[in-house]
Amino acid sequence: MPTEDQSSWQFIFQSVVPDLFQNTLKLFIFTILNTFLLGTTSAFFISFTDIPLKKYFQYLLLTGLSIPLYVFAFIYVGMFEFSGPFMSFFRETLGINLHQYINIKDSYWVSLVISFGLFPYVYIFTKNAFDNVGEQMIFASRSLGYSPMKTFLKLILPYSKPWIFSSLILVCMETLADFGAVSVFNYDTFTTAIYTSWMALFSLSSAARLSLFLVVMALLLFFIDSKFNKKGTHHQRSAKKLKSPLFKLTTTQKVLALFIVGGITFFSFFLPITQLAFWFLEGFKEEWGEHYYSLIFSTFKIGLIASLAIVILAFLMSYLKNYLPNKFNNRVNLLSLLGYALPGSIIAVAVFLYFRFFGDHLPIFQTGTLAVLILGLLIRFLSVGFRSLDNHIGAINPNLEKASKSLGHGFLGTLKRIFLPLSSKAALIGIVLVFIEVIKEMPMTLMLRPQMENTLAIKIFELTSEGEWERASISSVFLVCLGLISVYVVNKLSVEKN
């Protein structure tokens, strides 16, 4: 065994790793550029101009986030591959061979599709920063002789740099962690290589070594973000909003703005959703069957168990963090942030290795059991639940705890009678947020799930591996709908909370 393993690693290291680096690097560079352009441009138009239909665009620009990246990927591959309907139409009807210009599996196009899925992060961070500048700073700048355009370039952009930077780091993390989308494109990165060396070459040790590269890169990103984005540079202020837009657009400019922002929403939402709906309607009758009931059941089962476990743990952690001495604080904070920085594939490998050694003593934690999968998901998504709850619990007036204790309630009594009721809504939001992340999760579920336990995401993976776009659309529509519902629910709950 060890010699065989050794040789497959040698092979991987010499012939695959350099390509993986190159692919990952290209993907990073293109995706950073693309998401930066898409995100800041759309944030600019929404925050600072009187673009028509702003109310709708604000939300439409975000809806792309409810489509999992791998769904984006297979929709675009399906549309633009050589034999796809789009390409065929151009080739056969118009006599244009679009394939010359668009090779959807080429790194630039892979990145562009991924960017349409990820740019909303840049958009939302940048928009927050832009709105945070506020009326008075803009007035100050203009009274000092700066025109609106100069104010934007010299004040607003530099001011927003830390946010934009953070969002681009987040985009990189998501790109690095992505497994589903790149595997649809057959675009090899570390995540797909880890999967292949484990599941196809059966070399767990190669998978572990590849994971090490990925860990180093993920930690590097994490480090860059915390190093170059010192806390102080994110200025949280409650700024007065601009009463009238910084830029009043002329009619021509409005048309141009609509064309740009409309184009972005078209490619990030309308086009993929339309294609998905089309496939869904075409393929539903043939594809739908009893086995989908068990897929949906499994998806909900895993999603609910994981999100409940995470939110309970996150609640306790946040409570302890806020009401116990400081030393504990920072560690918990760091730990919770780190989880999200680590790609699912790495956690899968780590958890698997760990329980292969210790599983013998703990029967329920044998590899291939539900408990191990849940544990992996918990490590990966704890930060999502923790941040959502901690924002809320951290904001509870600390005097309430003192009041409760002075009235004779101890640690547990205070927890039960004050913090639980006050944070029930935040917990619900946390559950929804975690749930949606868990059911979309692909690589870890793929590698750690019990053998007979299939989820919607797994189904999508299986069908897209065979190029069955139409059949994969059924599960995708479920995931997208659940995603949209969750956004709605979270919005609704947050509004009520305020």
Binding site: Q136, M137, A140, R142, S143, L144, Y146, S147, L155, H235
Partner: protein, 327 residues
């Protein structure tokens, strides 16, 4: 010479008239204060002068050059007006020096440094160049905000409630300091406030504004000692107006309304010349004196004295006729 001239400015905000028929001038080197309660249109007026909102009628000129009327509307960045905000609004990502040099974009870097050094000296913040706004106290931030606004040598500087974000004990100290800085540098300025003590202390002239209209414009002494009507007196709460013919004749005054500042009134136990009978309705201990509220029929007035009187006691209020002003 007038630096600023406003000619019958009218302005609406969401169909509500917020400024109506405002006319005033500010002379070179003058500290002009706009005093009014919150929501009276003070900030709108400041924004109109700076060019961030537009009146629907009237004209504004700076140094004889029209910046706003029916045909003209000069952009804020070309009006050469400095602004200091209530929350100071320093650029948080820039150092003190960079904040001050922000408005000197067209100058060479040597000139920039020279100017920012001058200003740091003027506001007494040498050695703070490389600090960031979040490392400064409120008072220091305010001085940086003033230095930043002064850097491009504006014709006029507008200050929006510049002291209200500071601790009360710091305010008094800073007011004196700022007045000195402005006078030394010969700066023309308009500042708005809701605090009459601030206005009296700082201003060369005060424009008292209510519901978008000027009630009175004048020096602090004029406004305090010779208010033009009941609205001014109610706003300042600095005295009473006696209009009642019977009371006026008791005081042997002509039958026109007279204003008496509170400091011209005193309390005695016995009836004497120029007194009216009243009753103590409220008594508040204030350390070295008491503040008494006295009711004379329906007139409610406030008198400070170290003398002792009892609540509900019947007393006489003595009027110092020399300080009375006809209205």
């Amino acid at each position: 010479m007038n630096v600023l001239e406003l000619e019958s400015i009218f302005q609406k905000y969401e169909d509500k008239e917020v400024l109506s028929d405002l006319t005033f001038q500010v002379e070179k080197g003058e500290l002009f204060c706009i005093l009014g309660k919150s929501g009276c249109g003070k900030s709108t007026l400041l924004h109109s002068i700076a060019g961030f909102t537009n009146p629907y009628q009237g004209s504004i000129s700076i140094n004889g050059k029209t910046v706003f009327d029916k045909r003209t509307n000069i952009a804020p960045e070309k009006r050469n007006i400095g602004l200091v905000f209530q929350d100071f609004s320093l650029f948080p990502h820039l150092s003190v020096k960079e904040n001050i040099e922000y408005g000197l974009d067209t100058k060479s870097s040597a000139d920039k440094t020279k100017r920012s050094c001058e200003l740091l000296e003027l506001v007494g913040l040498q050695g703070f160049e490389s600090k960031f706004p979040n490392e400064l106290s409120g008072g220091e931030q305010q001085r940086v905000a003033i230095a930043r606004a002064l850097a491009p040598s504006p014709e006029l500087i507008l200050l929006d409630e510049p002291f209200s974000n500071l601790d009360p004990d710091k305010r008094i100290h800073l007011r004196a300091e700022i007045k000195e800085i402005f006078k030394k540098a010969g700066i023309t300025s308009i500042f708005i406030t809701h605090d009459q003590h601030e206005a009296f202390e700082l201003a060369d002239r005060i424009g008292l504004i209510s519901a978008g209209k000027f009630l009175q414009i004048g020096t602090p002494e004029e406004i305090f000692n010779s208010p033009v009507n009941q609205h001014v007196v109610s706003f300042l709460d600095n005295g009473i107006i006696i209009e009642d013919a019977k009371k006026l004749s008791e005081l042997q005054l002509m039958n026109t309304p007279h204003f008496f500042p509170y400091h011209s009134l005193s309390l005695t136990h016995d009836k004497a010349e120029n007194t009216l009978q009243g009753k103590i309705s409220r008594k508040v201990f204030q350390g070295d004196h008491h503040q008494y509220s006295v009711m004379i029929d329906t007139l409610d007035l406030h008198i400070n004295t170290a003398k002792q009187f009892d609540l509900n006691q019947s007393i006489f209020v003595k009027f110092d006729l020399e300080k009375a002003k006809k209205i």
